[in-house]
């Protein structure tokens, strides 16, 4: 294996030791010199960018996207292996670095891993990569035998020429294969012939996660490494006014106290624990700037004003909603809200950096290696050719480790003060919570026009609140300033986020209000609040007009057969048409998100105000299903993430900063609360939908609708913990 690549970098790896030794000796970075020499092929052992075959027939499949638990590493390897016709038992994987990707004109495509895009956006080229490698391996064997490639066949890493009875293995011809011309035309298999895609194979990365050997960013260690703990202004956008570090600097092991940007200060010590203790002794005065008086209450007031604001961006419109509401036999209205929430990845943000006058390298768990590289370049003062990032396995991502790399900027700034030494920065849980990139805060007013038969004749859905895109990727706003992502799950059409109902006289619009607390893409993103607003309100309309919530929805779904099919599937499986067991109540929800159609049905009970979720039925139509058992794992996990958010998730704000700093105040679901989850996988073929996120969005509304059935109480403000469910 090329020593430049390392999926799980650890000091025990030869390549890293070589590099570290070079640095310690004051020389340049030995392990990156090869790229400076154009005469030498950088990758002598690869068949092509996606596939390396070693002499012992080990197949190394290159994975451009990041593994953070969602199983994409195994799924993407399955895609390549399907076409490669290799022996699955000999497959391993590795990450190319973002720096390599740039040097090779992005041969591996995008590295960003978010929006449930890993498989659905790269399925074509990764399969082509596998197919091309297979053809090159066959061509190499055929050349050796002096026969036509078309007379040879590859299966399970063995190439055979039936006519002459000869066979060889991939490992034996790999070096020759690398010299063959890539095929000009590639024909991918028909899905009906797949044997690896669609199989519930076990993950490739499980065993090291059971014996402590999996290396996460936090676990990295290099000889002579320093450790850093940081405190950054708890009011986002505020600055560091002054710091007295006299006591901190006297602590054992402390090597320095350094300012980081205009808002942070870090203690650098021999160990992290020493750095952390010393950081707690810093006497810091913050300047909160203009947001020092913002509170949850003031945010709520501001967003409430947006519910009636004249100006709003239109996300979905047909007919005349205002007119329909004005002439309706009956108008039903309800206002909902969704709070700021924290990703709360199990592994707090961290990175290790080394900086010299010539070079800067970073090791970090990231959902977007190229984004981390951009942050490294910007902070290092070097140009791109002198920087690289090594991706490390993520202890959770959920969107926090993708669009912004604030911790990478910090670690590079710190490492610059200690040239030639590795510096590892770990955020405490408290720092991680305070500097979350929060789920956006919104409110929503739903207004429905109904005729005297109880039919929906118009609807206005006004969302007021925060735009992720405006805050962190403003370049992706529409020309007029609209954030189209706000309307996820509510769009009139499209392959990703189409609304599942045909509603006459519809207006869905957004009054943008951007608090200073920085938002981020948070697993499920805007489908989370949108599905609560729409699916709970649909439930309200059904009850208001004395109709069955399933039947009420299905009437509006005639033109949306895939949305309808998943909803019908969960209803059938949970037994919607039969009475629930005594004391058990049911709720339903559906949404299209990230290209997949999903629905959920819940069975709950409420006793003395205490909610218990007994059973969940979930249905998913992702088009094609690459690894069914891993999709099931994503669906189950989505209920944990989604229900943690719905029941408990709330970052409250006082004096411009968030209050919750750890799991004792930011509660999440535990095993005791975990319901049984029955997952229906119903891939209908012909499209590729994501599976890591969409189900999050149906978890909350399915349960909240069941809570209404149980108690008659409509929970419109997330999280549910703020509502007393006790019967009056």
């Amino acid at each position: 294996m090329n020593k430049l690549f390392s999926q799980a970098p650890s000091p025990s790896r030869r390549g890293f030791l070589a590099g570290v030794a070079a640095v310690a000796g004051g020389a340049s970075f030995g392990f990156h010199i090869p790229f400076a020499d154009a005469a030498e092929p950088a990758f002598p052992d690869e068949v092509n960018a996606w596939v390396v075959v070693k002499p012992d027939d080990t197949v190394v499949i290159r994975i451009a996207r990041s593994e953070m638990g969602q199983g994409t590493l195994t799924g993407l390897a399955q895609m390549v292996a399907e076409e490669l016709e290799c022996d699955w038992s000999k497959v391993t994987t590795e990450y190319p670095t973002p720096g390599e990707n740039l040097k090779r004109k992005r041969v591996w495509g995008a590295m960003a891993t978010g929006g449930s895009r890993g498989i659905r956006e790269s399925h074509q080229y990764v399969r082509e990569g596998g197919a091309a490698a297979r053809e090159m391996l066959i061509a190499a064997a055929a050349k050796g035998w002096g026969v036509k490639p078309s007379e040879c066949k590859a299966e399970n890493s063995v190439i055979t020429h039936a006519a002459s009875g000869r066979s060889t293995t991939y490992g034996k011809v790999a070096a020759e294969a690398a010299k063959m011309e890539p095929p000009k035309e590639i024909r991918l298999k028909d899905p009906k012939d797949w044997g690896v895609i669609g199989k519930s194979l076990l993950r490739l990365d499980t065993k090291p996660k059971t014996d402590g050997s999996q290396v996460y960013g936090m676990d990295l260690s290099f000889p002579n490494m320093l450790n850093a703990a940081i405190k950054d202004c708890p009011v986002h956008g505020g600055t560091l006014k002054s710091v007295n570090s006299a006591d901190a600097e006297k602590e054992p092991g402390v090597r320095g106290v350094v300012r980081v940007g205009d808002s942070g200060v870090a203690v650098v010590a021999d160990t992290f624990w020493q750095a952390k203790l010393a950081a707690d002794l810093l006497e810091i005065e913050w300047d909160p700037g203009k947001n020092g008086e913002v509170s949850s209450a003031s945010l709520a007031e501001w967003l409430k004003e947006g519910l009636d604001a004249k100006e709003a961006f239109v996300g979905n419109k047909n007919g005349d909603a205002a007119k329909a509401l004005g002439s309706a036999a009956r108008v039903v209205e309800a206002t909902y809200s969704y709070p700021l929430q924290n990703h709360a990845c199990m592994e707090p943000m961290n990175a290790t950096a080394i900086w010299t006058e010539d070079r800067c390298e970073v090791w970090t768990p990231t959902q977007n290696g190229e984004g981390a590289l951009a942050a490294t370049i910007a902070a290092s003062g070097h140009d791109a050719s002198k920087c690289d990032v090594h991706k490390v396995h993520l202890g959770g991502g959920f969107g926090r480790r993708g669009a912004t790399h604030d911790w990478v900027t910090q670690v590079v700034e710190i490492a610059k003060k200690f040239p030639g030494r590795h510096v590892k920065l770990i955020w405490t849980r408290e720092e991680d919570m305070i500097h979350g990139r929060f789920h956006p805060i919104t409110q929503c007013r739903m207004r429905a026009a109904l005729n005297d038969k109880g039919e929906l004749t118009g609807m206005h859905m006004r969302i007021s609140g925060q735009s992720i895109v405006a805050a962190i990727v403003p370049g992706r706003l529409a020309e007029d300033g609209k954030d189209p992502f706000v309307f996820q799950g509510l769009m009139a059409s499209g392959k990703e986020f189409e609304i599942g109902y045909t509603i006459p006289n519809l207006l869905i619009d957004h009054a943008m209000r951007n608090p200073h607390l920085t938002p981020g893409f948070w697993r499920g993103v805007n489908t989370n609040p949108n599905a609560i607003y729409l699916e709970c309100f649909m439930d309200e309309l059904a009850h208001a007009t004395g109709q069955d919530p399933l039947a009420f929805r299905l009437k509006l779904m005639e033109n949306h057969p895939k949305h309808r099919a998943v909803l019908q599937a969960v209803a059938d499986k949970i037994g919607w048409d039969k009475p629930a067991p005594k004391g058990i109540y049911r709720g339903l929800a559906q949404v299209m998100g990230f290209g997949a159609y999903v629905a959920g049905a819940a069975e709950v009970s409420v006793t003395d105000g205490e909610l218990k979720v007994h059973r969940i039925v979930a249905a998913t139509d992702p088009g094609y299903a690459v690894n069914p058992q891993q999709i099931e794992a994503q669906v189950e996990g989505s209920f944990v993430y989604g229900l943690s958010a719905a029941l408990y998730g709330e970052m409250t704000v006082e004096k411009g900063r968030v209050v919750e700093e750890n799991f004792n105040t930011y509660r999440v679901m535990k095993l005791a609360e975990m319901p049984k989850v029955e997952s229906i996988l119903m891939p209908s073929g012909g499209f590729w939908g994501g599976v890591g996120e969409p189900t999050i969005a149906v978890a909350a509304p399915a349960v909240l609708n069941a809570v209404f059935a149980a108690t008659g109480k409509r929970v419109r403000n997330i999280p549910l913990k703020n509502t007393d469910l006790k019967q009056a």
Binding site: R203, T271, A633, E636, V640, L671
Partner: protein, 153 residues
């Protein structure tokens, strides 16, 4: 100088006695399988065994661990062959990101030592570790499977 018995070996550690066991394991002994998740005994990612009982190492200062007490970390759980909990975890693909799983496995192994045939309710009340990926149902299934296959290890 602090002396600890870790995974069957007596180790000498240069650290302040107030240092939490978690950080001594990670930083002085290089046993990074035990994770930092919260530092306040909430999440359980730092769970190790002390004399067979599950302990949250992030709030356990070195000063309160006696030299004769036997500490076992995830790296020392397998005894020649994988512990039944580790085997069940592999068979069922329990981990997702895996960051919490060292602690989860140590908590599960300690539970099975105390209670070799736990009911679902026992597991639900005893396993209080946090997993943000949401592997709970497979954790439960894994503990049941390990129990059937001799989970006390």
């Amino acid at each position: 100088m602090v002396r600890l018995n870790v995974n069957g070996q007596v180790r000498e550690i240069e650290a302040d006695p107030g240092t939490p066991l978690l950080w001594a394991l990670r930083e002085q002994l290089g046993l990074t399988g035990t994770k930092y998740g919260c530092g306040v005994a909430q999440c359980g990612a730092c769970t190790v065994h002390i004399d067979g009982a599950a302990v949250r190492a992030c709030v356990m200062p070195l000063a309160s661990v006696k030299e004769e007490q036997k500490i076992v970390t995830i790296e020392g759980l397998a005894n020649g062959k994988p512990h039944p909990v580790q085997k069940a975890w592999v068979d069922l693909d329990v981990p997702q990101c895996g960051f919490c799983q060292s602690g989860m496995i140590m908590a599960a192994a300690a539970l099975l030592k105390e209670n070799p045939n736990p009911t679902d309710e026992d597991i639900r009340s005893e396993i209080t570790n946090i997993c943000r990926c949401g592997t709970y149902n497979r954790v439960l299934a894994g503990i049941k499977k390990a129990a059937v296959e001799g989970g006390a290890g």
